[in-house]
Amino acid sequence: MKFGGSAGALVTLAAAGLLKTSQAAAAVWNKAGFESKGVADAVKSLGASAAADSRDIVITAPDIAENGAVVPIEVVSRIPNTQSISIIAEKNPFPLAATVDFANSAEPYAYVRIKMGQTSNVRAVVKADGKFFSAVKEVKITVGGCG
């Protein structure tokens, strides 16, 4: 199933005209993952027992962010059949920040601005053909200690 756990059941409803397509598409919010306090648990919540390091995931983010409240993170996956990209700020109290599932004509591209409490690795986890891959980039945060 490509588009999240509950999508299959809902598609039937959408076909019956009971739901709009956009609502039918929405995956069930990954409560366990977003409430995980550790990186390993967050990764496990995505369905990955292990994620192989990959050079085909390109993370673009500042080396130094002047404001931890607004850290732009761009992730491009060059791995064929990329299904989803997750963004994890490893030292945040709840590390998993976002998961994006792609379908149809979407490019495997994610861009979002996130809050980071402190200097940390940002990890991107890509699901492609049912397998998991990841890459990291360190972002230094300056506002926080001296505000």
Binding site: T21, S22, P72, F94, T99, A103
Partner: protein, 105 residues
């Protein structure tokens, strides 16, 4: 009521670059207001995008996404005039949907 999103959808080659600004407090649940009271968590947890009616992007977000969120989506094989619909739902079940047509980049 939720304010309208600001959406830019520009075609570059055959890829539409969809860039979205959202007015939302994205409260983490850990901030205190001026009176010292904890402000309840209030954040967008679902962000979906469709292209000519077909789902392309299904984002699940946490409270770690910045206040006044900014995000982007890229759609290949797009054409000028294609319809892009962006919808969000937050943890208090507030919702907002806006649409835009792809323009020449």
């Amino acid at each position: 009521m939720a304010e309208p999103m600001k959406i830019r959808a520009l075609l570059k080659g055959d890829v539409a670059d969809i860039r979205v600004l959202v007015a939302h407090s994205m409260e983490t649940g850990q901030r205190r207001d001026a009176a010292g009271n904890l402000v309840a968590a209030h954040f967008i947890h679902s962000m979906t995008v469709t292209h000519n009616g077909k789902p392309v992007y299904d984002g699940q977000w946490s409270q770690a996404v910045s206040r006044n969120p900014v995000f982007a989506v890229r759609i290949k094989g797009a054409r000028v005039g294609d319809k892009v619909v962006v919808s969000w739902t937050d943890n208090k079940n507030d919702k907002r949907t806006d649409e835009v047509s792809v323009a020449a980049g």
